[in-house]
């Protein structure tokens, strides 16, 4: 059976596309390349009884293995020249060569060319629908998502067992614009997730699982996304990227312990992974473990000292260790790199406030408020700085503005204390009551504030009684 791939007979030309899938055997006599018609066949038949003719067995697939070898060794230049030879010798009849040429063109980023080659291969194969997979992928890379979806759907019908088709189909659907069909908007993310869920290969293919996790994350399906990522890590225990995503997902849903374990595991595999270092450092800082966090940042700052967020975190860590000058230069560096990030300027303002440089603090806080006008916390902090600068009128206005945007306990508390200092006991009492009516968030430590509130309440009560 193997031998049948190699030897073919000459003089017969009416046979094309005898085979369906991978192998396509073409034959062509070398000595009579131009008269390829049945007359030549009949002529040779007539000549049968006369002297035996010299024949040569030709097979356009004979060099396929070598081609593939070059391809798998990433020797694209040689592979291309070989393919060129084969295609010119057999007038472009070698389907495998065309397919391989398309793959090379795609890897080299010449997508229009790749499209051309794959189309040729498709035609040559007798319209084999498997080529829609390759065509769909190229169109996807070119950003023609709707065409890609069409083609990949056809390919999915033709190749039921190839999980990659589903993956690329889902990716292409993900990029479609949201459409309205029958008065119902169809969310492409939802659609892509459903396509993935129907695939049987979901339990064994990391790529599918990872992408599903990402989609579910976007759809705010926390449980589903976590399950998907967990499955992915089970399939491939050293996939650091998935670990980071799972860790961050845990953090976003304030499941700090699991997030910490996951990121720690990631760092065990890749100790210089800057994303993981940043995330894990921020958790440590949240728990007040600044020294360890700074140690972690050392590694990261060596890899990319141009990361503004990294320098911001370093600055915060140093600030907590009361190293103000160092913190200042770290935060300034962060602000130099990311001038439009309001968190950095907020931290700078807090730092200057701590150093009792209120004018600079005011400058940075104003920048923060300009950059993030909806942030009630920043406006509240602006009020505190203004009150420290003894600008009572503007401080009161910004307190009011902050409360208009969003009522937060800390700002109310500050406002109450401020009004108390200004001697407006009645207003202070009012804000204090409002403060007590608001429930504490889960991630702020209410103990400190509550005790302050109690003291203030006592003082206010006594002074109000007096007045």
């Amino acid at each position: 059976m193997e031998a049948s791939n190699e030897d073919e007979i000459i003089g017969v030309n009416s046979v094309e596309n005898e085979e369906s899938a991978d192998i396509n055997q073409e034959q062509k006599p070398e000595d009579s390349a131009d008269n390829l018609n049945s007359s030549s066949a009949s002529a040779s038949h007539d000549r049968v009884s006369s002297a035996p003719r010299r024949i040569e067995l030709l097979d356009c697939n004979s060099l396929n293995a070598l081609m593939y070898h070059y391809f798998s060794q990433e020797e694209y230049a040689e592979c291309k020249s070989l393919i060129g030879e084969v295609l010119s010798k057999y007038a472009g009849r070698n389907e495998f060569a065309l397919n391989l040429r398309g793959c090379i063109a795609r890897i080299e980023g010449e997508l229009d060319e790749a499209l051309d080659w794959f189309t040729q291969a498709y035609e040559q194969s007798g319209k084999n629908h498997r080529y829609f997979y390759e065509l769909g992928r190229v169109n996807f890379l070119l950003g023609r998502h709707s065409i890609a979806v069409e083609q990949l759907e056809k390919a999915a019908k033709a190749m039921k067992h190839n999980s990659k088709v589903i993956y690329w189909l889902a990716r292409a659907i993900y990029h479609l614009p949201p459409t309205k069909i029958k008065d119902k908007t169809i969310n492409p993310v939802q659609m892509a997730a459903e396509v993935l869920k129907t695939s049987p290969a979901l339990s064994s293919d990391v790529q599918l699982v990872g992408f599903l996790g990402k989609l579910l994350e976007e759809l705010n399906d926390f449980g589903g996304a976590v399950a998907a990522y967990k499955k992915g890590i089970e399939l491939q225990p050293d996939n650091t990227e998935m670990m980071i995503r799972l860790g961050l997902l845990y953090l976003r849903n304030s499941n700090v312990d699991d997030g910490f374990t996951m990121l720690g595991q990631c760092l065990a595999y890749d100790p210089t992974n800057t994303d993981a270092i940043l995330a894990i450092g921020s958790i440590m800082q949240k728990h007040g473990d600044h020294d360890v966090a700074l140690n972690k940042y050392r590694v990261a700052s060596d890899v990319c000292d141009y990361n503004g967020h990294l320098w911001n975190n370093i600055g915060v860590g140093l600030m907590a260790r009361e190293k103000m000058a160092a913190a200042h230069s770290a935060l300034k560096k962060a602000a130099f790199i990311n001038p439009l990030n309001y968190k950095i300027s907020y931290n700078l303002a807090v730092l200057h406030d701590k150093m009792q440089l209120y004018a600079s603090a005011l400058h940075y806080m104003k920048q923060t408020v300009d950059l993030a006008p909806k942030n009630a916390k920043a406006i509240g902090a602006l009020a505190v700085i203004l009150s420290k600068l003894k600008d009572a009128k503007n401080a009161r206005r910004s307190y009011q503005k902050s409360l208009e945007t969003k009522k937060t306990r800390a700002v109310l508390m500050n406002f109450a204390i401020f009004e108390y200092h200004q001697g407006r006991m009645q207003d202070a009492w009012g804000y204090l009551q409002e403060f007590k009516s608001l429930k504490a968030d889960r991630d702020e430590d209410g103990g400190n504030m509550n005790s302050t509130a109690e003291i203030l309440e006592k003082v206010l009560a006594s002074s109000l009684d007096k007045s």
Partner: protein
């Protein structure tokens, strides 16, 4: 009367000479003309007049001149086209800290910003086509050829000032006579070289002069070198200078040598001569400046700052040194110190818009807001049109720092109205638009910025991000490539590039489940518990996945076995079976090496997990396990275990294809017999080749995937098969012969015992195996692979040490 007599009234030549000494060149030259009118053959006056004129147009030859596009891209003198980083101006060091486009912005040409604008600071980026395009649009346009610009200007300006007949007619001058006359040849040379700009004639004069001086006058050798340099004959210039250096070591010679080597893009040689010169003339500013500039261009900022400081201790008012120091301080996060240096420049009397702007930026960074705004305003009021765009751009930056984004947008727009090609303004404007959520506007701004300056990092990276979000991966990939050229170390870029590249690749992917068992030799119970927590440091190799080696970690305490499943992206090894396509196969070896625990501490027990074989293959590829075994590798005189898995991947052939292939094969055989009758056949059924062709057509029908249903295809193929077998009854003896695939005279049944040669090979295999195992146990085997490991490990250790040191400087 008596008082008047106190003054001696010089007349004639002496008077002119005195005037010349007092540097009143125009007056002196005028009087010379008068003297020459009286006596046209007076050689002294003639020489003096030439000296006056050439002094008036003297140019410092030591300064670098800008290299034109023609020289940059059609350079024939370059010695090493692919230099190592740090040894060429084209490839400055990029590994140094803080030298990247984010922490220290770059000029239009992609060179980090320096303190002063000077020639030779443009970097060759991209192709000539790109350079020509940039030059046409940007303000930093370069002349097409360098030899033209300066000389042309000199000629025209001097023609305007001296409105008289030229005193030397070069065409009729007897160069041999005057050139070899030591009394006038210097003046003549300088006149021709500087004033007339006729380098060829100057070269002729210098040639005569050096011959007349017996080839041992350094002056003429230097002049010859200057001529050669101007004529673009760099090699000859170098030769002349080196021979001049043997006669007399002079600052000028060293500086010219430096210039020559810089032109050849050999900064290390230039540095060598600068250093030699400094040993002879310590504290010479010209040489020190040359060194400092070269260090800066090579990206060695610390060295360059040190040299600039030395220059300032010698010559405290060197503006270039002060400005460069200030710039470096500013970008390394010390704006207060930078401010002091800029103030010093201002105290020395310089007062330009750029300087004011720099002071404003320093004040802003060191939080002296009132002064910052004042300086910015002053810069704005004194600026000229050529710097207006930069000034407004910086005002925009200040406004971003203040937080007034509307004003910043406006400032960038004004900058663009002054210079429509200001790509930095375009990018920043685009970022502000992007922030507002106006993506299309942002994208078009990014694109126009890139069309002005295709090599810039920020524009490329930002636009790539936008495209990535929109799912246009191809465009994004191309832009990222550009960005990585500008900033090869950018981490985010590299990660993004990796993800996108994965989308373009088409490699075989196979699902494999492996199981490795760790065995700790129990020395005592306590140790095991401690060690179980650690990373075992097992690396995997020979797999062409994205990361070459990965480590495995034990997660539970006291667990002795660890299962590990993974997806492998496998590329083939060298051994490849060509004969067997389409059943082509690749053999793959996976090696798991424990490189932390030696073989006495950790034993690997490899085996493949028992999972259904279908799971390990996919549609097109079949997976076959060959063997798994353990071997020892020795590194640093310790033996480590290495588990090796050998697998084979071969391409599957679908069933339908094999049936069709068989049918086709049979038909072809029949056709062969029909057309070339080897021996006569008696067909029971009447056949001829037309019938066989019909059979082929039917086969073609089967092979077309859409033509028939699955059932029909099978049915038809079975039918065809039986017909063909029926037909080929007569040729069956031939089939037997052919299919057995061995010579006719050989014995058809295989031998039951191995042939001597087989036996021999088996023995040697066993012997080899024993030898290898014995030597491994004796811990003396040192395979080349182990040596590689050593190198790797050492490299890593150094890296670790460096890291800690660097951080000390950051934190303290």
């Amino acid at each position: 009367m008596d008082e008047e007599k106190k003054y001696v009234n010089f007349t004639g030549f002496i008077r002119v000479y005195k005037l010349f000494r007092k540097n009143k060149l125009e007056h002196a030259s005028m009087l010379c003309t008068k003297l020459l009118q009286k006596n046209p053959l007076d050689q002294a006056t003639w020489a003096l007049k030439m000296q006056c004129i050439s002094d008036g147009t003297y140019v410092d030859e030591l300064d670098n001149e800008d290299v034109g596009i023609a020289e940059t891209f059609l350079e024939q003198n370059v010695i090493a086209p692919n230099a190592r980083p740090g040894t060429s101006f084209q490839r400055p060091k990029t590994t140094a800290k803080g030298i990247n486009p984010i922490l220290r912005p770059t000029t239009n040409a992609g060179r980090p910003v320096s303190g002063v604008v000077r020639p030779m600071s443009s970097l060759k980026t991209g192709s000539m086509d790109q350079a020509v395009r940039t030059a046409r649009t940007a303000k930093t346009a370069r002349a097409v050829s360098s030899t033209s610009a300066r000389n042309m200007r000199l000629g025209t300006s001097s023609m305007a000032s001296t409105n008289e007949i030229q005193i030397v007619n070069l065409a009729r001058l007897n160069i041999d006579k005057y050139g070899s006359d030591p009394l006038v040849n210097r003046q003549l040379f300088e006149y021709v070289f500087y004033f007339m700009g006729d380098i060829k004639a100057a070269h002729q004069i210098a040639g005569c002069a050096t011959k007349a001086a017996g080839f041992d006058d350094w002056y003429w050798k230097n002049q010859l070198a200057k001529c050669y340099f101007r004529l673009g004959m760099i090699g000859d210039a170098e030769k002349q200078l080196l021979s001049s250096l043997k006669l007399q070591s002079l600052v000028e010679t060293y500086a010219l040598l430096g210039k020559v080597y810089n032109r050849l893009d050999q900064p290390m040689s230039a540095m060598r001569y600068y250093k030699e010169g400094i040993e002879v003339y310590p504290n010479d500013v010209t040489l020190l400046l040359g060194m400092a500039r070269n260090e800066e261009l090579l990206g060695e900022y610390q060295n360059s700052v040190d040299i600039y400081k030395k220059i300032l201790s010698v010559q405290a008012n060197n503006i270039e040194a002060i400005a460069c120091l200030a710039t470096t301080y500013y970008y390394s996060g010390k704006p207060e110190i930078a401010l002091r240096y800029f103030r010093r420049i201002m105290q020395m009397g310089a007062n330009s818009a750029e300087l004011n702007m720099n002071i404003a930026l320093c004040c802003m960074a060191s939080q002296q807001y009132d002064l910052a705004i004042q300086s910015a305003l002053r810069a704005q009021s004194t600026m000229t049109e050529d710097v207006a765009a930069d000034i407004w751009y910086n005002i925009g930056q200040i406004m971003v720092d203040v937080g007034d984004l509307v004003y910043a947008t406006r400032a960038y727009r004004i900058a663009l109205s002054h210079d429509p090609d200001h790509s930095e303004s375009l990018v920043n404007l685009a970022i502000l638009k992007h922030r507002e959520g106006r993506f299309d506007e942002a994208r078009s701004l990014y694109m126009s910025a890139l069309s002005k300056n295709p090599g810039m990092f920020e524009g490329n990276f930002n636009l790539a991000l936008v495209y990535y979000q929109q799912g246009k991966y191809n465009e994004s990939r191309q832009l990222l490539k550009q960005a990585l050229i500008a900033f090869p170390e950018h981490d985010h870029c590299k990660k993004l590039m990796k993800t996108i590249n994965g989308m373009f690749e088409s490699s075989i992917e196979i699902f494999v489940e492996l199981c490795i068992e760790y065995k700790f030799k129990e020395i005592n119970g306590r140790e095991i518990v401690e060690e179980a927590d650690e990373v075992l440091g097992i690396t995997m190799e020979n797999v062409e996945s994205s990361e070459k080696s990965k480590t495995f970690q034990m997660q539970q305490k006291n667990v002795r076995t660890l299962r590990n499943r993974r997806i492998l992206n496998i590329r083939s090894d060298e051994n490849f079976d060509f004969a067997e396509y389409p059943k082509d196969s690749h053999s793959v070896q996976l090696k798991f090496t424990s490189n932390l625990k030696n073989s006495s501490e950790l034993a690997l027990n490899p085996h493949f997990a028992k999972i259904p074989i279908e799971k390990m293959s996919n549609d097109e590829w079949e997976f076959e396990i060959l063997k798994s075994y353990v071997q020892w590798v020795v590194q640093k005189n310790e033996s480590f275990e290495q588990a090796v898995f050998e697998m084979k991947i071969s391409r599957k052939i679908p069933k339908m294809v094999s049936i069709i292939t068989t049918l086709m094969y049979l038909t072809n055989i029949l056709l062969i017999f029909e057309i070339f009758p080897v021996f006569s056949l008696d067909f029971n059924i009447k056949t001829d080749w037309i019938n066989l062709l019909c059979v082929q057509v039917l086969i073609t029908l089967i092979s077309a995937p859409q033509a028939l249903g699955k059932f029909h295809r099978y049915l038809l193929s079975q039918l065809l098969l039986s017909t063909l077998i029926c037909l080929s009854k007569n040729v069956l003896p031939f089939f037997l012969f052919h299919l057995r695939c061995c010579p006719i005279e050989s014995d058809p049944s295989p031998p039951l015992f191995p042939s001597p040669s087989d036996q021999f090979s088996l023995d040697t295999e066993r012997a080899k195996c024993h030898a290898a195992m014995d030597s491994a146990r004796a811990e003396s085997l040192r395979s080349p692979r182990a040596a590689n490991f050593d190198m790797c490990m050492n490299g890593d250790e150094n890296y670790g040490e460096m890291l800690i040191e660097d951080l000390k400087s950051v934190f303290l």
